[in-house]
């Protein structure tokens, strides 16, 4: 629960949140909040969109302060569904927005390498992308099972640990791609393009890191809480 920093509260305006951490823009869209929200506070916007302000603030705080460990004891089954929706929308952003940008950059960079280097680099990226999609598919299947459990009002609902751990492999591969682009591509590869691709990889890497925190510090304990309630 404790954090070294003053956490965001319901009285913050959305504009203040974004001013404090612009990366929360993506949180808004994954919570289905539209822009042009004027000077409304977090509490007001959550009422308007029928969101739990507690959940919304947890996600904003965990996305901003990596040492923040929320107390998820008060989260409802609806909140759990909302977290899973948030994670699904994140997957969709990674696969449909981030990865195509990185792919087109990597392809352009590989075009400056010799034939075999180009093929090996593209294959490395393809394998990474397939691995990522496969992992997200597995995760979404687990979400569907959990959805079913929640609807039927009981039973064991958990995110398999191996699904959570698989993220680390993805992060390692992303670090590998970063190292290759920073250190080992031929000098002929244009620096500007390299920087662009790198910035996108860093953004994705950071986003996935937050994604892992939301799973491990929010979803997993919230599901454990649900099971406890179902048993009693």
């Amino acid at each position: 629960m404790a954090s070294q920093h003053p956490l965001f509260t319901g009285s913050y305006t959305l504009a203040d949140l974004i001013e404090a951490n612009y990366k929360l823009l993506s949180v808004l869209s994954r919570m289905d909040v539209q822009l042009s929200f004027g000077d409304v506070s977090v509490e007001q916007i959550c009422r308007r969109y029928n969101l739990s302000a507690e959940l919304f603030l947890m996600i904003c705080n965990i996305s901003t302060y990596s040492d923040y460990r929320p107390d998820v004891g008060g989260l409802s089954d609806d909140d759990i569904r909302r977290i899973m929706r948030y994670l699904r929308l994140s997957h969709s952003y990674y696969v449909n927005v981030s990865m195509p940008k990185i792919r087109s950059g990597v392809s352009a960079l590989a075009g400056d390498c010799d034939d075999i280097q180009e093929k090996v680099l593209i294959k490395f990226f393809d394998d990474f992308e397939s691995e990522m999609k496969l992992h997200f598919d597995e995760e979404e299947s687990a979400f569907s099972v959990i959805d079913g459990m929640l609807s039927s009002g009981g039973g064991e609902a958990e995110l398999p640990p191996e699904v959570v751990e698989a993220h680390d492999d993805l992060c390692d591969k992303m670090d590998d791609i970063k190292s290759i682009i920073i250190k080992y591509l031929p000098e002929s590869c244009p620096t500007e393009l390299r920087l662009e691709v790198l910035m996108e990889i860093y953004r994705l890497r950071e986003d996935i890191r937050t994604h892992i925190l939301i799973e491990s510090r929010m979803l997993v304990p919230a599901l454990a809480g649900h099971c406890g309630r179902a048993e009693s």
């Binding site: 390498c113 075999i116 280097q117 093929k119 090996v120 680099l121 294959k123 490395f124 394998d127 990474f128 492999d169 390692d172 591969k173 670090d175 590998d176 791609i177 970063k178 190292s179 290759i180 920073i182 250190k183 080992y184 591509l185 031929p186």
Partner: protein, 199 residues
């Protein structure tokens, strides 16, 4: 308090002589004399020397002088390292020492050079070289060719733990952890035969 000195020389005669010269000074205590680098690495955690005097014949063989001694023997990195030179010695190797003593130096010269080496070490700490060593390169190529740690250990007749330690160093130096990433690295650096790549 006197500084602790470890002596690494294959010749017992030279070792005992150097020990008695160094122990003759109040500033130094000889923590031990060992005959080779392997014993040196094993005994360093026990002897915790401030200064290690190494006979350069132990380092110059096998064309390894291009590899930083602080990479090859990381335990040396935090210590003052002095080369004991008998004759001609590779310049590259000489530059890596904090100081050198000559086999024909007298007692006062040796003690003066040890003091100078310690000062030198304080001014310019050792840098760890981030280049891949020959052994690491050999292992990297086998990793990139798809061999498992066990297969590499068998092929090179080394323990699997040694393979894992080398792989950790390789990943640390290259910034690449996955086998697929290391294959890209090996190819980018022309370490593997292009025709051997299965695409």
């Amino acid at each position: 308090m006197s500084a602790r000195v470890m002596i690494v020389v294959p010749s017992p005669m030279v070792g005992e002589g150097l020990k008695s010269i160094i122990n003759g000074s109040q500033d130094y205590t000889v923590a031990g004399v060992v005959p080779d680098m392997q014993s040196c690495m094993e005994r360093i955690p026990v002897m915790v020397p401030d200064i290690v005097v190494i006979d350069t014949v132990l380092l110059a063989h096998g064309g390894r002088s291009s590899v930083s001694i602080y990479n090859a023997y990381p335990e040396l990195q935090p210590r003052t390292v002095v080369g004991l030179v008998a004759g001609a010695c590779d310049d590259e190797l000489m530059r890596q020492f904090d100081g050198t003593v000559n086999l024909y130096d007298g007692q006062m010269q040796i003690l003066r050079k040890l003091r100078a080496a310690s000062r030198n070490r304080d001014v310019s700490p050792h840098k760890v070289n981030n280049e891949i060593s020959e052994r690491e390169r050999e292992i990297l190529v086998l990793v990139a060719s798809g061999m498992t740690n066990k297969e590499i250990a068998d092929r090179l007749s080394i323990s699997i733990h040694t393979v894992i330690a080398h792989r950790k160093n390789i990943s640390h130096k290259t910034g690449i952890k996955s086998v697929a990433g290391l294959t890209v690295y090996a190819l980018m650096n022309n370490m593997i035969d292009r025709n051997s790549i299965d695409l």
